[in-house]
């Protein structure tokens, strides 16, 4: 699992490199936490799921935990590029009601304006 974090206009863009499952959530969480520790001033996040072709309940639970942590710090989190299969998991678990989902990273960044 490779997580690439960058900053655009003070907003973090987190690119998740592969499927978000029970086997990979720990790596995702660790890499994101270490980047958050290095960039404590960043409040808002866009999670780019373009390369996430599958997500199980552990992956979904991790995203919810990340959202909770970010909102506790006074920030917000949006999701971009949600692929077909994870979208189906989002739909049945009602997760689409929890997250703001955008088709592209640019649209998600605009959503913070």
């Amino acid at each position: 699992m490779v997580v690439t974090c960058s900053k655009e206009n003070g907003i973090a863009v987190v690119k998740v490199g592969s499927a978000l499952t029970a086997a990979s959530v720990d790596a995702f969480r660790e890499q994101l936490s270490s980047w958050q520790s290095a960039e404590p001033e960043v409040k808002n996040y866009v999670i780019d799921l373009e390369r996430v072709d599958f997500m199980d309940s552990a992956g979904l639970g991790t995203l919810i935990a990340v959202l909770k942590r970010i909102t506790e710090r006074g920030g917000d989190m949006k999701i971009a590029h949600l692929q077909k299969k994870p979208r189906m998991v989002f739909e049945i678990t009602r997760a689409y009601k929890v997250f703001e989902i955008y088709d592209t990273v640019e649209e998600a960044l605009k959503g913070f304006e």
Partner: protein, 465 residues
Amino acid sequence: MKAVFYTADVLSWVDDLGGVPWPLLPIANRPLLDYWLETCADLNIGHVQVILGEGADQVEKYIGSGTRWGVEIQYSFARATERPLDYLKATSDRWQEGLLFISGPFFLRRMAGYDPVAFQSMDACCNGCLGQAQFLFGKNGDEVKKLLDETPKTECGLEKIHVEPYVIGGMSAYFDLNMNMVAGEFSRYVTAGFSDTDGSSVGYNVLTPPSAILNPPVIIGNDCRVCAMSTVGPNAVVADHVIVDSSTTLSNCLILCDTYIGQNLEIDHKIVAGNRLISPEDGTVVEIDDSWVVARNRPHMRTEDLLRYVVLWFMALALALVQLVPFLLLYPLVRLSRIGEYRRELFHDPRVGYVKLPVFYKTENRRSLVYSLFRMGSLDRFPWLLLALRGRLFVCGQPPMRHPQDDETIRQLPRYYPAVFSYADYCKDSDLLSDSLWYAHIRSLFEDVKILIKSLLHRFFRAGR
């Protein structure tokens, strides 16, 4: 007249629906073949030849000898080198009395003006695509021969009798057909006497607590369980042996048999087949490994089962040690007062087929302190506890199934855990099959301990009443 059903085509998209061969694809909870065979009954066809391909054993098991439909069935296997039309032409002398031929996932969709009587006066016709006949009907040898010599047309005489030749060409067509059925078309396929007041059909043994809502139109199969605060419908087709866990909503969806739908889910515009979530639009399949989201209603859990068995064995040992002295003291008194006795009865056994178990019966209908004490301590189950310690019974699970009374129930059970204690010990409205299916899916150490404690407490407080 004779009928030939060609079921040897290979349809790859059906594989995503969990291993059911396409001739048995459920449409409004009835296999496609069922509709074909009912057409034979409508046309007074007595002989049907089924040409088998993949899934032959399941098809043969379902149709059997054909007595359910009043037809005589003959089975044969398709030859790889021979197309169905070639076979019909080569055996044309067999169709002198007429022929009904259906091939591939072809559904005779009855439209609003359909009348079964019109079927009998239908003209000879043939329907097909890409030069292959999917439906052919001729009342005598000449009509059949003429049709076989022609190129199959895409339009045929079926429309004249208000039947649409519907080819189930993919996931989308399959889903749409089921949705049309639940929206009201299914009542065109049931016999006279069926009452369709709200466009719904609910099968046997469907458990719904007061807080569960069924929003018509829905079609629900047999032996299903809809848990608290769940909503089924509108436009939901739920097959047999489906468990819908609490606070879940099902609408515009098709749930195939033996599926568990987890808690707090929203299934809309989807097909669920076991642990597979399918988008009907493009056939995208997501296999979900988490058995608490959606799952096949019969998971294999060898490690958990072993752990459960070991922990419960020690609990049974402790309980047996506690019961030993009271049983040795009270049972002779029960026998002396002639208020109860053990009788050996035949039960199903998962390992050896059948086993005789001692069942305690109260033989006299009078109050007795000895009997009340005997029941309060669940001492009537002491011999079963000893059998559990010997590995012949589970401590908690499903009630042992009697032979032959419960033969039909056991045939429908994916897993059988005959046990000393079960839901039936503390739940007055317990249904044997529904509860057994529920236990087979939900079984866990927590559930077993819950059953054990509730059973012992219920029997203690209800003894003698």
